[in-house]
Symmetry: D4
Subunit: 217 residues, 8 copies
């Protein structure tokens, strides 16, 4: 179990973590993606652990944006556990008309910067990284670019000796092989459907609690 | 396991089932309440069962509204399993300025009418009822009225010999006793928070699959 | 396991706890309700724990009566665990010709007074509350009044942070939905039959020992 | 599991089975001994099996009395399972002023007669015999006489190939060795206390359901 | 587990413990009854516990003989566990031509003397008593007399608070009820066959090791 | 489970199977070696399977003797399972003054002859072979000769496709390595002590029942 | 369990499957990679299933080579299960001086051709695909090219509805994150070390037998 | 679990341990026998234990060779666990034209010398011995000689109180009885096939980790 009483958890990422939380502010900014499901299951399972969860996903954020706001949105919250799912936008922004190219080196500098700052301020914080991922059809345009980013995330996981790297790109694509319907898992190949989110939840819930309460695919 | 390959499930109810699904239509109208979490966990667990889920929660609906749309919104979808969580609005509408009073007899006539129509058209459909519920502080105004409705739901569960009655009012209030923070479970005493939804999910997931994969409170 | 060697347990309540113990004094005043079954199973399971059980149920007692005798009948026995099932008579007495009305506020004052006194004298005593309950048909007269009392018991459970609140009203009524025969569970809707008592025993035995030795319904 | 849906069970015996049932007729003549606890646990565990239980214990009955009423009180009820605990009164009546002596041969003739009639009318009925028993101090007067009766019960168990013989005399006395307090188990050495009854319940519940849900001593 | 490394165990009794050990001295005086099977299974299961077992059964011994040799044959061996199965010969000798009558009082004085001496010299030694037993047909002559002795063994078990009393008479006779063939369990009703011995082994092995490795009947 | 109701089992072998059965004929010729322990445990575990066991071990028998009496002592009993432990005497007789040499070829011819006859008459009989064995010190004289015999038993096990070959020589010697005391396992290196017998029992009981009820070394 | 008695399994691939089998022909051409470990564990676990395994890995093979020899090396062997690990050489050959470029389209045509031929000739054969993989440092040159190939393997897995797709690239790289020592898992980033092979074995053994006998990382 | 973090394990032996490691030096001299499979499974299971494994098998080595190189090849590596499989070559060299005869006494002197040196320098090192073994047909020439060596290995295991002696000769030959195909287990009767190696792996992995992760034959 990575959590203890009174712990604070920050989920730091982009739209997949965000999942429309700004659109439903009256619901306490949880959004309704994997963040919401994972943290609400944890809250229902451990009501007396006094866990605090923060969704600090920002739709559209690239790693540079995360880097710029890591102090305000993550470190200042003094998390005991940080879950990061980031990177796919660095690929998307190149192709969706924004025409912003983030080289792998720049990507790594950004992403490493995030971890450096966290590690410096919160040396005891536990960290879980999840690979950015894409399903092949809808997201085909970004695949090559994304691959470079996944590679860098793996490098960073090693260099910062994170507590867990969840290989989501393989997991998502193997699920897609089992159920050959891309829209079942991620309508645009990048943003998971609720079923896709539940798949992330299963692996993340296991990584956090150490128990495979909902059998993974 | 109440489901078999190819089954269709309709969740029929009010805003708790709805949970803002109309606000996020681009997300396929799932909303982000217990419906979304339960059905997405089921989809991730059984990708090859070809299960179809419909959220037919309508914010603000009273039993009369559900009765009026049961054919179009439920029966016409030919569900093999119907999950109904309804009734709290019949109490709320009396006090929130709408001044609509639904007598217990009328409530029962409405609710029974829903089940009668389902049973008549779909005699083999399985049915799970969940008690409407309220936490005491925020929802104190409706309590007396709600109690009468809960009583009627219990009557109906017996008369129609449903497959399961989940006593949510007691479960929610016992959870509230364990963690004495009403806003932890349902901010306004009626609409569950995500933690409250997760509690419903645990009992409902168990009732549907027969396995207590996520230990209930 | 809430009990340790040498512990004393007081069951404090009304006729449901009492269950005719005055009628059979030669049987050591156990009565023959859930008190008798729970404590005798515990005595047979742990003969060498030197557990002492007291049935301090009084048929007909309302919370005011319990308040008046809590020192003599409960605190003076120095219990390590107090199990309280009370409240239904406060509702019954209003309608059965006695015409005594106990307002919710008065009910809470009485019931809280019981807990205040216990907590003050025995700050380490563990406490289990069970909701008063009624089945719908026979007990229909008191339902509205009882609902207010159940609400207050839930409030008290939170305010005194008791060790367990067993939501008996929902449990009993869900059992009634499963087996649609009110007299199977409680002939007059209020006093459990032996089958109804056994249902209480199962939940109470689990709450006390922490093991679900007899699977709950 | 010795029972199937719709089965009827008759508990046939003396005061230990009776346990004051005539004194509390308003409680449906269950008494409050092992009969009540065993059958109510079974009813709570299997509400939909439609089991019917009859307590046909008669305080003071000797085997001759049981023989005389076996047709009316047992066979006519068409039980699928008969549980018999009898014989101790044949010993007691010799010494308690009644001065009735039942020789072992007569005892066996009586007891065998009971089984003969049951087997003849209900060849498929299952049968569980429990040895009569006595603890040594209070019941010392009858011990020798009782021993002869226990011997005959064992003979009969073999000759009629009953489904189970529960050696209660050894079980009770071994429990007494573990917890050296005769009044803990049976105040007068013959009539079990509630703790003593619970011990019978554990063995009988296991013999009937085949599952040791409450660990035996 | 009643045993620890280096422990010594003495089995103290009569011919049932002896089981022809004098006839086969070249086999280290183990005899071939329950002593041999129990101790050899324990030796094979725990070869490195350095357990020492002594068979101090003497065919024909009555309690007076055991009392006379308890110092030499038991205490002087400094056992950590003493298993006693004794008493049947006190009954047999009365009827088999020896015409020796041991009154219950004398029996108890003898048997208690054995325990007194053990307890005095070896206050920490653990003690297991097994009831003497007889099957009904072959041993019918001694039954009445034996019953008195069993009663006294039970008294002694309580008075000396032994670690375990195994109610062999009930166990043996219940086995006989299950398999109605006296010679299957004890050819002369008193001396167990190998199958009868195995039944003793199962209960004794469980009493000593705390694990039911060979499921008891 | 290799056995079914009504089965007959013949243990066929030499002194290790015999284990003094002729010396204790009044005990029904069971001897008191692994045969006795294995079969008596089986009889106590399955009293109603109506199993019949025959000890057809003959002290001193070589394979030629077994071959000569296989029809009379084994086949004529129509066993459903034959357990054979044989061969060590073919080695011993060469050195103990008898000066009888059985060449490996002759040994195999004898042993195969036993199986041929069994298979021919009882094609459905199950067969378990156990390797002959010796511990090194006491039995050092026969080791070389025995090795040749073990080799042949292994050949025969393959050629006749027996149901199980238990490699006793390795098992015994590994036990000896764990507990370095030859007399603990087999005083003369060949005849197992009771502890050694218990080791055989554990493997044989598992091979016959398919359950490792007594954990093997 | 994907295998049944008498099944034939072909492992079809490149050097990772081959693993020097041509260098050690006297060892029956098993090589000593994951093929050898997986199939030898299966042979030791199921000696009587009569399973036949073929290593048809060819060091240096690209998909075009596999396509050219699929009939001779795979289909003609009539496998019931085909395990394919292929594709990394299509990437390597572009950069290691061979200067052969296989476009993703060509890659897919080749790889699909393999499956088409298998499916056409052996419609019932089960198929397991494993993603080609590379660790980042040593194999950095081929990464971009390899990513395109992995993408195509995932497409093919879906289009041919294979029985299992094992996402080795993510698994290998997550293992690398846990133990940050590339040479621990794959010295040149492409050819797994023995530890890397064992990781493949664990997932493959589970995919084939359905049991996670050796817990996966 | 015999291993702890940072431990070093040396496998010391002949060609069976070596298994062509000199032929494939580019593979880090692991060879591809039981050494490779056991150590690579351990490395994949415990990547963060920092275990170091050394294969110090030398094809053709007799015990004298092992003795000569034990300091350089084993002790100097400071192993915490030494696994030794040796001795078959001492038998083979006598018959394969080398005509070298190693008497049992000489064999023991050599082998004991190995253990003496290890114990003297590394008194805390754990030691596992495995019996040398041969299957009967191909290796028939050496059988007699080998038997003498196996005997000595058993002696040494006792005298040095090793942590485990794995009786491989019996295990291999019992496997051969189950699957009657010598070449399935060891082509020349001495060098295990991959299936034979996997059998060794199963027993060795269990002996080292204490868990039977892959069920032994």
């Amino acid at each position: 179990m990575l959590l203890k009483n009174g712990d604070t958890v920050v989920f730091f990422g982009d739209s997949i973590t965000d999942y429309y939380r700004w659109q439903v502010p009256h619901l306490d900014f949880w959004g309704f993606g994997y963040y919401m499901v994972t943290s609400s299951l944890l809250k229902a399972s451990y009501p007396n652990m006094d866990l605090t969860f923060y969704n600090r996903g920002h739709a559209g954020d690239c790693t540079i944006n995360l880097l710029n706001r890591v102090e305000e949105d993550c470190i200042s919250l003094k998390p005991n556990l940080v879950v990061i799912l980031a990177g796919v936008n660095d690929s998307i922004k190149r192709y969706n008309g924004n025409d912003v190219y983030v080289s792998p080196e720049q990507f790594k500098e950004n992403y490493s910067g995030i971890l450096s700052k966290i590690k410096k301020s919160l040396p005891d914080a536990k960290i879980i990284l999840m690979e950015p991922f894409a399903l092949p059809n809808e997201a085909r345009g970004i695949r090559d670019d994304l691959n470079e980013k996944i590679l860098k995330v793996r490098e960073i996981a090693r260099e910062f000796a994170v507590d867990e790297l969840i290989p989501l790109d393989g997991i998502m694509n193997a699920a897609f092989a089992e159920k050959d319907d891309e829209k079942y898992w991620a309508t645009d190949g990048v943003h998971p459907t609720h079923a896709g989110n539940a798949l992330i939840v299963k692996h993340l819930y296991k990584a956090i609690t150490g128990e495979e309460v909902i059998p993974c695919l």
